[in-house]
């Protein structure tokens, strides 16, 4: 759990598969979850302070959307960078989420998606847990 891991959460299995494949190519460890609830259950038994890496949350999901998941994870003590990934990105909403602590908001069509993931990992590296 101390290795850098990208936690991918999206209700599209194909999307998760593509991104994970891309991360594998880049030798970046990743875990995929089809819902935010599944990720939260996964992390409920671990030392969240020891987590390293970042989390990518899809905004629109059936059970719990990205914003709700972010708040829940924050309450659980997850400190690694969390980003929202969505087909649409609202500037106002982005500002609000950033203010709440979201590291970034990324569109799915963004060709620089992996650069931004790397940026998130660097951000996590620059802020190791105390």
């Amino acid at each position: 759990m101390t290795n850098k891991t990208v936690y991918l959460v999206d209700d599209s299995e194909q999307w998760l598969e593509t991104i994970k494949e891309r991360l594998d190519v880049e030798d970046i460890q990743s875990e995929t979850y089809l819902s935010a609830v599944a990720l939260i259950e996964r992390l409920s038994d671990v030392d969240t302070a020891a987590l390293r890496g970042c989390i990518l949350l899809d905004m629109l999901m059936p059970d719990m959307d990205g914003e709700q998941a972010f708040r829940q994870l924050t309450r659980m003590g997850v400190h690694i960078p969390i980003a929202i990934v969505s087909s649409y990105v609202d500037g106002k909403r982005t500002a609000m989420l950033r203010q709440a602590g979201i590291a970034d908001c990324i569109t799915k069509t963004d060709r620089r998606l992996f650069e931004k993931i790397n940026t998130l990992l660097e951000l996590d590296a620059a802020n190791p847990p105390a």
């Binding site: 599209s12 194909q14 999307w15 593509t18 991104i19 494949e21 891309r22 190519v25 629109l60 087909s87 649409y88 990105v89 609202d90 500037g91 106002k92 909403r93 982005t94 500002a95 609000m96 569109t107 799915k108 069509t109 963004d110 060709r111 998606l113 992996f114």
Partner: protein, 693 residues
């Protein structure tokens, strides 16, 4: 004349004044009568008492010329006749005599005529001291009296000296010829009081004479007229000594005793009518029940007068209010803007107010020549007769009608007709209210309602279209997801291809397959949108009034606009565009919704939404929706390049996407957004000008 007087306002007032005057007169008269009666009664009683006293006095004076009788009577009835020889026998006897100048001496003789005691006033002549002198003097003055009849008996001189009782009695000669006597010069009735007081031995004694039942007959000083029983009488001595001859020893009633002695029985008080003319019952009534009756009568009359005054006051106030009401009614009828007229039973107009005359163009003198059917051509004489009868049953009737002016033009009015009984005469009252403007408004409203129905029907189609638009937006989201997926997959493909010699066909095939799958999905989604749009049968391009469209939006967005504390400020929306009505409404609908949300989010002092339009290049109309909310946060949106976001918190830009998409369906039309310098957002779009306007 008399009838008019009876019906006039003055009559009830005069009548009430007369009644009150009568009552007051009665009260005053009753009071005077009672006062006079009381005074008369009082005077009569007092007079009677005085006269009776005088009469008794005179009688006593007369009777008591028989000195023996008198003295016996006095002593026997009023006092114990204790003549204290040791003290003041002379004084008492002198008092009894009543003439002190004459009563200068007295003597007590034994039965043989021998003086055993005698008293003389100091300085008095002593010529009458001797027995013989006394007898002589007596005989000289009262020749008719016998000497043996004037006697005071005493056992002896010692008895007198020892203050023994000396009983004065009428002496009847005995067989042995012994007798005793005393000289009485005069017993004057006018001095009776003093005499009796002297005899009683107490000058302060009040002397009263009552009958056997205790009723007061006489008193000195005079008792009050209302006193019928004299309590002091009870204190008088009631015993008679057995030595009083001629008086029943058994009698304990001094009055009776006196009466017996003097031979005169006083008349009962009931006989006083003989002297006064006033009955006893009258006296009693005056003194017992008349006073409370006077008080009760006074209270009753006072209460009646008060009630009457209150009633009069209230009626006076009601009269004033009625007069004022009548005056106001008259004033109102003359000056009201309503048309008022009085009608005869035959349909002829009798009176009309100024508003009526002015409205119909008639002079006052012309009114009486008009009939109902003259001004209401929709009716005739026969119909009027029927209406008049119906009014008799119903009382009033209301209807709309057209009345004809003198110049032949019409006024639309509402007529309220009433049939009234005015002082026994059946008359009609007609109130006409000009409803021209009202009818015009109603017609306009009806037209507006019809138009609204059409618009609502159109909006139902519009909502269906909105549903299609929302569905399209959802599909668009899915397309973006697939495109994003394809982009990421293409990155993997590019990376695979960059491997050159180590290119793995298997991986390449998989990437390409997935990519193709993504594009297939995108195509399918686009086909779905196309199919939906193809089935959109509501699109009908035509002239669209921007003002009407804005009004519809205002109507359907009233609630959210109210929350945003604003309304749509329409500027220069007289232009019309050549477009699908629902498109225009839908675009404005979305933009106003976004603006309202933005205004609710920022809570500024003067929220505003302005929808304006201007002609561009002679063929286009640029429509702008402007607000002073939070503006576009995304610079790209603000610049209008590819507006993906929205200016409201929580939105995902689908409204703008739909708007853009709708606008894109018009060749050459544009859609762009920008942020205002002072805060807020402006969304512009162009649509073809309707050149038919």
């Amino acid at each position: 004349m008399f009838k008019e007087f009876l019906e006039s306002r003055a009559f009830p007032q005069l009548l009430r004044a007369f009644v009150v005057a009568m009552l007051v007169s009665f009260l005053i008269g009753a009071a005077l009568f009672i006062q006079r009666s009381y005074s008369q009664t009082k005077a009569a009683v007092e007079n009677t008492a005085t006269r009776e006293a005088r009469r008794v006095s005179l009688y006593l004076a007369d009777v008591l010329t028989d000195a023996g009788h008198a003295l016996s009577a006095i002593t026997g009835s009023v006092s114990n006749s204790k003549l204290n020889g040791a003290t003041d026998v002379t004084q008492q006897l002198a008092a009894i005599v009543g003439e002190r100048d004459y009563a200068i001496s007295a003597a007590v003789l034994d039965s043989r005529g021998k003086v055993i005691a005698q008293w003389a006033r100091s300085g008095a002549p002593r010529k009458t001291v001797s027995y013989g002198g006394i007898v002589d003097a007596l005989r000289e003055r009262k020749s008719r009296l016998a000497a043996d009849q004037i006697l005071v008996s005493a056992p002896d001189r010692e008895a007198i000296d020892q203050s023994a009782n000396i009983v004065v009695s009428k002496r009847i000669p005995t067989a042995d010829g012994n007798f005793a006597g005393v000289s009485l010069l005069e017993l004057n009735g006018a001095k009776l009081l003093e005499t009796l007081q002297a005899v009683s031995g107490d000058p302060a004694t009040t002397i009263a004479v009552a009958d056997g039942e205790g009723r007061l007959l006489l008193s000195r000083p005079a008792a009050p007229p209302y006193l019928t029983h004299y309590p002091a009488f009870q204190t008088l001595p009631k015993s008679l000594t057995s030595e009083v001859e001629g008086v029943s020893p058994a009698s304990t009633d001094p009055v009776d005793g006196l009466a017996r002695v003097v031979g005169y029985r006083f008349e009962p008080l009931s006989r006083l009518t003989t002297y006064t003319g006033v009955s006893r019952e009258q006296i009693i009534s005056v003194l017992s029940w008349q006073v409370p009756i006077i008080v009760l009568l006074f209270l009753a009359v006072a209460a009646t007068v008060l009630v009457l005054l209150q009633l009069m006051l209230r009626q006076f106030q009601e009269l004033r209010e009625r007069e004022q009401s009548v005056a106001m009614s008259d004033f109102a009828l003359k000056n009201t803007a309503e048309f008022v007229a009085w009608i005869e039973a035959d349909g002829r107009l009798r009176l009309a107010n100024e508003a009526f005359r002015k409205a119909l163009g008639y002079e006052a003198s012309e009114i009486s020549g008009l009939y109902v059917w003259s001004i209401n051509r929709e009716t005739n004489r026969k119909q009027w007769v029927a209406l008049w009868e119906r009014l008799g049953d119903l009382g009033s009737d209301t209807r709309d009608a057209k009345v004809t002016r003198k110049d032949g033009s019409f006024i639309e009015v509402e007529i309220v007709m009433s049939r009234l009984d005015f002082r026994g005469e059946e008359v009609g009252f007609m109130l006409l209210h000009d409803v021209t403007e009202r009818n015009r408004t109603w017609r306009s409203l009806r037209e507006s309602q019809e138009r609204e129905k059409v618009q609502l029907a159109a909006f139902a189609d519009h909502r269906e279209f909105v549903s299609i638009g929302m569905m399209s937006a959802t599909i668009l989201h899915d397309i973006k997801h697939e495109v994003g997926h394809a982009v990421q997959r293409s990155e993997l493909l590019k990376r695979e291809l960059s491997k050159g010699d180590s290119l793995q066909h298997e991986a390449l095939q998989r990437h390409l397959g997935l990519l193709a799958h993504n594009f297939d999905l995108v195509v399918a989604l686009l086909d779905e949108v196309k199919g939906r749009l193809h089935n959109d049968h509501t699109r009908q391009v035509g002239r669209v009034s921007l003002r009407e469209a804005a009004k519809q939006v205002q109507f359907f967005k009233a609630e959210i606009l109210s929350k945003a504390r604003t309304s749509i400020d329409v500027r220069n929306l007289n232009l019309s565009v050549n477009a699908v009505h629902e498109d225009v409404v839908h675009i404005l609908f979305n933009l106003v919704q976004n603006s309202a949300d933005a205004l609710i989010a920022v809570e500024i002092d003067h929220p505003s939404i302005v929808v304006g339009a201007e002609q561009v290049n002679g063929k286009w109309v640029r429509i702008s929706v402007e607000d002073n909310g939070c503006g576009f946060d995304n610079e790209a949106d603000a610049e209008g390049a590819t507006p993906t976001g929205s200016q409201k918190p929580g939105g995902w830009g689908r409204g703008l996407e739909i708007c853009r998409w709708l606008i894109s369906r018009y060749d050459g039309a544009k859609f762009w957004t920008e942020n205002k310098a002072g805060g807020g957002a402006i969304v512009h779009f162009t649509l073809p000008l309707d050149e038919t306007q």
